[in-house]
């Protein structure tokens, strides 16, 4: 998760002294052990997704992924991501700005609270929204009360049969919750490391607050921000547990891509499940590719800044 920096110095000084590196047989066996472990746990599963997806040929594959139920799942997944990612992106920038650029009491508590959604099981992430918006939850108690507060709103919601749980709004909320810390987690350490000098200089030279942010801060955090957005999006589109709790799993209506995969799998349509799963596996590979590219860009940026 942390950006990887390569240390050329470490490589250069290895090798010319026997005592600072290992015997060739040790090196070869360690590489062998590492590759064997990764093959068993990473490469084999990855390959098998695509092999299983095309087990019944390209025709079946295209038929499965263009099925109306699949299309509706793709649409819902995109909808949830399009709402969740920008919101968490704005939050991430705000949180990183306040934490990196100012000193205030309770900063460490704020940092820990931002991390909370990472340490909550996906199933519990869904459960908390059921407790707030479900029929037995706060919203349900309010709507079913004899004399609810804000009766006009309660009546309007009852008349329109407005639902959050087992409906699209619940899916969007659960997605926002599970992807909540991604952008903030990427930006906070980056902006803390960059300090405040450049922004302070811009201010002293007469730049407005927005000018300082757009012209000084944003170019510096650009790659970290993109990286956070990529990770946030991958999780938003792939979330299963939390969405599974709040969705109700009505096919064609409240099924996201991961839920559609589960439905196909439970119907013993394994090839179909893997065909749809291959779309998400492809998304994961694109995510990893972009991540590697962004890390490379960030490393170049750091090297340019470190030169003078």
């Amino acid at each position: 998760m942390t950006p990887v920096t390569t240390n050329l110095h470490a490589h250069a000084s290895l090798g010319h002294r026997r005592s600072t590196t290992e015997a060739p047989w040790v090196r070869r066996s360690l590489v062998g052990v590492a590759l064997a472990f990764l093959s068993l746990f990473l490469f084999l599963p990855l390959i098998s997704v695509f092999v299983q997806a095309f087990a019944k040929g390209i025709g079946f594959y295209l038929h499965t992924v263009s099925d109306p139920m699949a299309i509706s799942a793709v649409k819902l997944t995109f909808l949830a991501a399009i709402i969740a990612v920008p919101l968490n992106c704005v939050f991430g920038v705000c949180a990183a700005w306040v934490i990196a650029k100012f000193d205030f009491r309770g900063k460490n508590i704020l940092l820990t609270l931002i991390d909370l959604p990472f340490s909550v099981s996906p199933v519990i992430s869904g459960l908390i929204y059921v407790l707030v918006f479900g029929a037995q939850g706060w919203m349900g108690l309010w709507l079913n009360a004899d004399h609810p507060a804000w009766p006009w709103l309660a009546n309007w919601l009852n008349d329109h049969n407005f639902k959050i749980i087992f409906a699209v709004p619940g899916i969007v909320l659960a997605t926002i919750f599970v992807t909540f810390p991604f952008v903030a987690r990427e930006l906070i350490p980056l902006m803390q490391a960059q300090g405040r000098n450049e922004e302070e200089a811009a201010r002293v030279l007469g730049a407005s607050g927005w000018q300082t942010f757009w012209r000084v801060t944003l170019p510096n955090i650009k790659w970290g921000l993109i990286y956070g957005v990529i990770l946030c999006n991958a999780r938003a589109m792939g979330e299963f547990g939390a969405v599974s709790v709040v969705s109700g799993k009505i096919r064609g209506q409240t099924n996201t891509i991961p839920l559609h995969i589960e439905a196909l799998y439970d119907d013993y349509n394994f090839t179909g499940a893997f065909a749809v799963a291959s779309l998400l596996a492809l998304l994961a590979l694109v995510t990893l590719g972009l991540k590697t590219w962004v890390e490379y860009k960030q490393a170049v940026l750091n090297r340019v800044e470190a030169k003078p």
Binding site: D115, S121, Q192
Partner: protein
């Protein structure tokens, strides 16, 4: 940091403190804190007896044993192999290293449902790996071993990605000094390198363990979810939810949340100590 601290305390040059702090706290409260407090609200509506009865019922107890046991074992296995993977990626050159380095993050990026059906299929009776293991009497699908395998898969990147940067930043002069003082390679590893990597290894271990405890999607397909045998705790919560018994679901969720928050706290303490350690070694 310390110098900045003194300077900006006097005058706040940069704008937007109130706006960004306000929005951050508002959004955090709306999305995270208020919904989480609903757990406390629901749990407090249960009597202490009911609460205790629910969290200690046999299905729940069996699920804690399995969840904690399998998560712990998976984190141990990942600590061992993850360390080797990080070591190999930092210190040696081999064909395809860049690709391997990029793919280590696959379990972060691959949706859990996809990982779940893939592992279940690989280890099923007719699967690529299952049809080799089954004749040997090793049953992975619908067994506790399956839970362990799924949790190992999702925990792998945590160890590699916490250990890797520390290994990269190690000063080679320390090893050269130890070597010139007559230490052999094995002594240098155990007495010089390993102690410096230990905090990161512990952090990675705790992160992998914490993630495994709450994991749902990648486990349910391979585990078979047989009550008392292969049901992890999130599945117990899910089955209570399916019966619309939100009180019971919340009670078990409270147990999990308490453990998760304790782990989160220890991760923060560990990271704080790691940072301090690194600052000292830099100075």
């Amino acid at each position: 940091m310390a110098q900045n601290h003194h300077r900006t305390k006097k005058i706040r040059v940069l704008p937007g403190f109130k706006l960004t702090l306000g929005f951050t706290v508002f959004y955090l409260g709306l999305i995270v804190l208020i919904p989480l407090s609903a757990v406390v609200w629901k749990a407090s509506s249960l009597s202490l007896g009911d609460f205790w009865h629910t969290v200690t019922m046999p299905v729940a107890m069996a699920s804690y044993r399995l969840t904690f046991g399998a998560s712990f074992l998976a984190a141990v296995v990942n600590a061992f192999f993850g360390f080797i993977v990080a070591w190999v990626l930092v210190r040696y050159d081999f064909f395809g290293k860049k690709l391997v380095d990029a793919l280590v993050d696959l379990p972060f990026a691959l949706p859990t449902a996809v990982a779940g059906i893939t592992l279940a299929t690989l280890y099923s009776k007719n699967g690529w790996l299952g049809h080799w293991l089954e004749p040997l009497g090793i049953k992975v699908a619908n067994s506790q071993l399956g839970v362990f395998i799924a949790l190992t898969f999702i925990g792998l990147p945590f160890i590699v990605r916490t250990v890797q940067p520390i290994l990269e930043d190690l000063d080679p002069e320390l090893e050269e000094a130890a070597a010139s003082l007559g230490a052999n390679r094995w002594q240098i590893f155990w007495r010089v390198i390993f102690p410096m990597v230990t905090p990161a290894l512990l952090t990675g271990f705790t992160l992998a363990f914490a993630r495994a405890l709450g994991e749902y999607g990648s486990v349910i397909f391979i585990a078979g979810n047989i009550p008392l045998k292969t049901q992890i705790t999130p599945v117990v919560i899910m089955s209570e939810l399916d019966m619309f018994d939100y009180g019971k679901a919340t009670a078990i969720a409270v147990v999990m949340l308490v453990v998760s928050f304790a782990l989160l706290l220890s991760i923060n303490v560990l990271q704080w100590r790691t940072n301090r350690h690194n600052n000292i070694s830099l100075a």
